[in-house]
Symmetry: C2
Subunit: 369 residues, 2 copies
């Protein structure tokens, strides 16, 4: 990859984000969690959910009152294997971190565990939470609802979130099987990234009111906010190429994110009240943890999973293709390319970082200055 | 639907299948399970997995020795929440039925349960097993590996099965949310159905050795057996339209079906040994059951799920579209169209039924005679 953007060292960016989160009222131990979640996205090369979102999705929302910097976590119900948590509109990443710690402990004892959080906010990359399970030698599954932006098959109205359905599983390789993506063809963050980079969105990923498509990234974001266009689930328009299957996966995530807790869903997650005023997002997330030691053991699981993944990579390639990847491999490659350099930041993020530093008079001098 | 095929009453078909399964050596109580699984597929209008498979996928395999009519089920490991079962190449449907009974009992007590079966054979529609959970007021999740027929993104070689990832969830409506389908755009059974009906397979669902596509259904089935073409996962060719996401889902099912039990996978499921002789299929399945009573209760879950599904159906339709469906709705419509008539059978199935009846001198007279 020919990276032309300047890099900020990982430690510097981490410390800076923690300091700024604290200036916004986030307690230190919570700020550490949040900075790590955002940077993990950059470490994996998932630039739609990394430091590009630090200001607009977290800091600005704390400022406008739709995200509370102090996370009051109420355990509404708990059994040997399950947890229901009310995050009281605090930091979704903090609530999710504590949820996963609980579920991993439960799955160590009982083999299986499941949890759901309601009244939450954006929890970062779903793969951070499933990776916590994988690092403990377990299978992690997670999903979350989000602002409505996806239309059902034969529909045109943005009804559901881009709703990731994420699985991370341990293997005997250097990196796990990590399938972390939206059930829509692309997600909001990717279009935000296209817009930020001045790029068009590829055709066919979005449906307009009249059933057509559009490519102007800024216009898509505006039209989506107005409900005048919608993203499509994997499989695309109609049924012939399996669009109803992607739509089904998106719906599964919408149901599991809300129904286990009886929380809000779809249009109630728009972040805007009936009078057009900003309001809390009230997101819901779900988490499942499965412990292979309660089946035939972690070693067996890891070895079999590794053999499957190696078999896939070594299978016959299409003419002109040099490599077959497995889920999580590109993220591992991105990390290896970046680990000694730091996080690459484009111009708009550079400006945000400088403005934040100056706003609070913090003692940082970025490499790009 | 203008159905021109003759119908066989449900009871008659059920009794006939049980009688024939028993003639093939399947014990009565097992034959009852198998007939019900196959007919449930026809009841739902999923004709790729119904009585069309009775002879070729079950009876013929019992005859050629790759499927044992008596199912010896060994519980290799069992905990409060988990089960690992060896089906010893018996009837996958019988093993799955007993597995689900166990898991539902476990989930009643512990909230979550998971199981895996290895050395198994074709288990019918995945949705039969998840529906058992739903009928008990729980969420069912299941998947299975299968004969390799799907290529990874950038690959052309059939490596993985069509690998359904199925979820059935209770709602407050007359019928459940039932998402039961292959993670490939279509599955083998659909192409078998196209071939049986003398129809072409739509373009773009299959990748040939050179990266092109083909539509001759009979040729596709032959070429797939020879490894010369492969099905594609949801999202289609390449990455731009999300093909890697469908490929990811297919891989998740491949891993979960084999790795929890340490069973075989991919090319070892071809049903043919190194010398080209038919051998056991050695399939693996997985099952998870989640009990909403251990979260905020079944009523809450059902009501929220129902509200989500009604909201989707009532959302704005694309110009020219009359209806938005939710997963399981078309199956419910099919059942209502068929329940008083019976199972529709085309000519090739009619011939199979008559030949089986005559082979064993059974006392049945079909309506189409």
């Amino acid at each position: 990859m020919n990276e032309t953007r300047p890099f900020v060292p990982w430690n510097m960016m981490n410390d800076f984000m923690i300091d700024v989160f604290m200036k916004y009222g986030v307690p230190k131990e919570d700020a550490e969690i949040c900075a790590d979640v955002l940077l993990e996205s950059d470490r994996r090369g998932i630039e739609s959910h990394g430091c590009n979102r630090f200001k607009p999705i977290y800091l600005d929302r704390i400022k406008n009152g739709t995200l509370l910097p102090v996370t009051k976590m109420d355990i509404v119900k708990e059994t040997e294997t399950t947890v229901v948590m009310d995050a009281n509109n605090g930091m979704g990443m903090v609530a999710s971190y504590h949820m996963m710690q609980k579920l991993i402990e439960k799955a160590k004892k009982y083999g299986m565990a499941g949890g759901t959080i309601f009244n939450s906010t954006h929890y970062g990359i779903a793969g951070y939470w499933t990776t916590m399970a994988q690092k403990a030698g377990m299978i992690g599954i997670s999903g979350t609802n989000a602002r409505p932006s996806v239309a059902p098959t034969f529909g045109v109205e943005p009804m559901m979130g881009t709703n990731p359905l994420t699985f991370t599983m341990p293997t005997d390789e250097e990196f796990p099987f990590n399938f972390d993506c939206a059930t829509s063809i692309v997600q909001n963050g990717k279009i935000e990234y296209y817009e930020r980079s001045g790029k068009e969105t590829p055709a066919g990923l979005v449906v307009t009111k009249d059933g057509g498509t559009m490519t102007d990234s800024g216009q898509i974001l505006k039209d989506m906010r107005a409900g005048d266009c919608a993203l499509l689930s994997i499989g695309g328009l109609g049924e012939a190429t399996g669009g109803y299957k992607g739509y089904g996966f998106t719906t599964i995530v919408e149901i599991l994110s809300a129904a286990l807790a009886g929380g809000p869903f779809m249009k109630d997650l728009s972040g805007v009240d009936a009078n057009g005023n900003k309001q809390m997002y009230h997101l819901g997330h779900f988490f499942f943890v499965i412990n292979p030691e309660f089946f035939m053991g972690l070693d067996t699981f890891e070895q079999t999973a590794g053999n499957i993944l190696r078999g896939l990579r070594n299978s016959r390639k299409a003419p002109g293709e040099e490599r077959i990847y497995t889920a999580g491999e590109k993220e591992w490659i991105a990390w290896n390319e970046r680990k000694d350099k730091g996080v690459p930041v484009g111009e708009s993020i550079q400006k945000e970082l400088i403005a934040l530093r100056d706003e609070f008079g913090l003692d940082y001098r970025f490499p790009f200055e």
